[in-house]
Symmetry: C2
Subunit: 530 residues, 2 copies
Amino acid sequence: MAPTTTVPIGTLPSGSVTGRLASVYSEVQKTRVDHALPLPSVLKHPFTILDGPPSSAAGNPDEIAKLFPHLFGQPSAALAPSGAVQTQKKLKIGVVLSGGQAPGGHNVISGIFDYLQERAPGSTLYGFKGGPAGIMKCKYVELTSEYIYPYRNQGGFDMICSGRDKIETPEQFKQAEETAKKLDLDGLVVIGGDDSNTNACLLAENFRSKNLKTSVIGCPKTIDGDLKCKEVPTSFGFDTACKIYSEMIGNVMIDARSTGKYYHFVRLMGRAASHITLECALQTHPNITIIGEEVAAKKLTLKNVTDYIVDVVCKRAEINYNYGVILIPEGLIDFIPEVQHLIAELNEILAHDTVDEGGLWKKKLTDQSLKLFDFLPQAIQEQLMLERDPHGNVQVAKIETEKMLIQMVETELEKRKQEGKYNGEFKGQSHFFGYEGRCGLPTNFDATYCYALGYGAGALLHSGKTGLISSVANLCAPVEEWTVGGTALTSLMDVERRHEALRYAKVWGRDIVRSLTLAYAKRLFPDSNP
Amino acid sequence: MAPTTTVPIGTLPSGSVTGRLASVYSEVQKTRVDHALPLPSVLKHPFTILDGPPSSAAGNPDEIAKLFPHLFGQPSAALAPSGAVQTQKKLKIGVVLSGGQAPGGHNVISGIFDYLQERAPGSTLYGFKGGPAGIMKCKYVELTSEYIYPYRNQGGFDMICSGRDKIETPEQFKQAEETAKKLDLDGLVVIGGDDSNTNACLLAENFRSKNLKTSVIGCPKTIDGDLKCKEVPTSFGFDTACKIYSEMIGNVMIDARSTGKYYHFVRLMGRAASHITLECALQTHPNITIIGEEVAAKKLTLKNVTDYIVDVVCKRAEINYNYGVILIPEGLIDFIPEVQHLIAELNEILAHDTVDEGGLWKKKLTDQSLKLFDFLPQAIQEQLMLERDPHGNVQVAKIETEKMLIQMVETELEKRKQEGKYNGEFKGQSHFFGYEGRCGLPTNFDATYCYALGYGAGALLHSGKTGLISSVANLCAPVEEWTVGGTALTSLMDVERRHEALRYAKVWGRDIVRSLTLAYAKRLFPDSNP
């Protein structure tokens, strides 16, 4: 029996070598660390870079042009086979992991490293530690073959760790410049999501404006799957995370069917987008799936969503099925307009008025918000009134949506039972699948995709490109036929409005994908109501 | 990219065949369904049954003898190679799944089926549906090669489903007798945990006392891992569940290290025993592991446990590590004597007195219980006062121990911060890993072990044995060398005391294992305090 001892890579001292690996890695980790990765054929031979036509922006091109005078309009780039041999100049490159973990991050780094080893021998790769703060504080480690080896095809960001700091103020740009000069950097690869790639573009613009030689290339990372567009068909980590969650959901579904007495409400990671929930639904076919973007598009209320679930529970009870599995996106209540109104009103009231025990304060709510507040389970009402963030605001993110829905479904079912419309048994079980999926072993797809993203980023930096996001596409074809290039980050940008007045430029794949999500959702629920 | 569509087996109509499987099963499910299982060599050839010496009981043999006059003292049985060929009589056998799911249950059934096909051709196997209730209601399905095939080496109990009913009253025994007679059963296999095997033995005794030909054989199932003893080295499902949880814990550990800002409190299934927590700790090496049996043995208080965690958090903060992973068994608070006292007092007060808002009722608590109650976070206090089961009792099982500990650790850390003894940042994240592990694909060990348990159960029934639990041992050796036999259920029994007066006979592997768990715990924390 003797189970294999699994020691997570995090417990390894930096720079571990094969001998030590052999004793602490599990069988599957050992197999994966030596798993050979295929490269797109354009990366296996000498290549040249073909520039496309001048680019624009995803929206508001005039504003984007003003914000990025040195980068706006630059063409995207595509790698093409060539007989000519690449110049052999040595490069000094930095790499940084930014934001939440996604399986495959280590492979982007090993892709960059292998490109430099094979195409620009004698080059140096620095890993900035703990995210963008590592750039500002010039905290780094020189990445060697031995240092990288134990992390090949392994999950996590622990090779150099990550962080959520941003480089955006003049002082912060100054610090980044100093680091770039001190290390004599030819280039920097920023591995991150939409915010991090927006930052990468600001940094590229800044370096260019100061005539620094340091180029900046972004890489599309987020398990949420909401950084994608025509040129960047997917962000890495999404494939692995969805497969991990789907396996867990599949286990819970079999459990539900074997026992026959629980409704499992599974909340899935994805605050701003429901892509994970949708993909997991397509992989596992649960009884009910709620898609946030659909709820928003149809302007559904919390009562609508509850009734939809209750209707299905009642129909199943009629044929004696008192069990099932329901998928919910983490950010569901952020998608419900009436909830947003209630939160805004509560924040206003809590900031200016005293809240009396008798409930007179409630009179300050609009009719719609009062109705919603009274509809909420008591525990959620208390949570809304009591738990505040440091700015005194209601903490929406802390609400456990799956538990709230269970309570609301219970209440409605009880009502229908008394009206003689329901005669089943309902027992809810709540789950949240999140952190388990962010650091799993990357799937073959994510491992290969990330390696190509990194290898391609090396090629773009080698060619002196800046302000591009590494783009590997044609992903439904065999790896051999994948295309490799870089997309102008400014061409993906639009202007985001926050708090009415403030406007930010932002890499903006999300809206495009929202429409896609809706299209999928319609496929999934062709005649659903909602 | 195109992820493999995984359709859980639950969506298959009964009796699906290969052609259909090919289109709905994932690659891994298809590979597993055809995975060939090795058999212990004693099961590959003709065998004979060797009886051991007369047996006694694990405790209170006189009382056990009185309860089981027809079975007490019977020898355990071991299979041994023999030149003689087994009789070829046809058998009619029933099988039932009892209690919570554990990976491998389907393989026990396929093991019984294959035994009958190969050693007693022309036999019939009936699957009772929905647990022991299926026996009492005579609700069954005849299991054929085609019916069983899609479930081979797959998780879940959905082939015939399970249930928690017990056969223990005279009327229920009568119903079971009627089913046994109606189906002309030569034998019945009960797949279940300690309670279900106790029931299996009562049923065997009952059938024997009525001179029915129906023999009863038990099989050791529970992912909790607490049904084991010398003759039954492990219950099935434990190996798979621990590996599933350990993979998830490993992912969370890498996440913790990559981010560097969260303490993850992971509660693991196992209410009456901490074996899963201990095994997962051995597989993953988290920062802190709390073992319920150790807490009970040392008579620790909730404050002791909190302080132990807080001490470690403070020490790690001194070297700038503000993250980590802490494992907690589901039943932790059941192991803390002072919590048991408080619950008993609360139940008493809530049953007889009115609870005033001013808190005068608290004066009825003993000093120790009052101190503990005041130490509990407010949310837990409210939960204890408000949520009752149908008998009016406090619902201890509903307390989310991991969240309670996070709150208590936060409070204590805040205190130490104000005393200048702690200067770190603490953010807790809570997890419960339970249902995901009960229906996963069985590991090679569980798949093989279960198949041998089922095949061996077939052999025992074929030899007319009753009141035994199928016992496959020598599990650290290659499968070839595994031993196969049956252990007298009465020899594993002791008398359990419930509510002072009531006394039940019960299969009782647990206490033996508690000592073992403690021994392990000491290995893990050689000089821990606690």
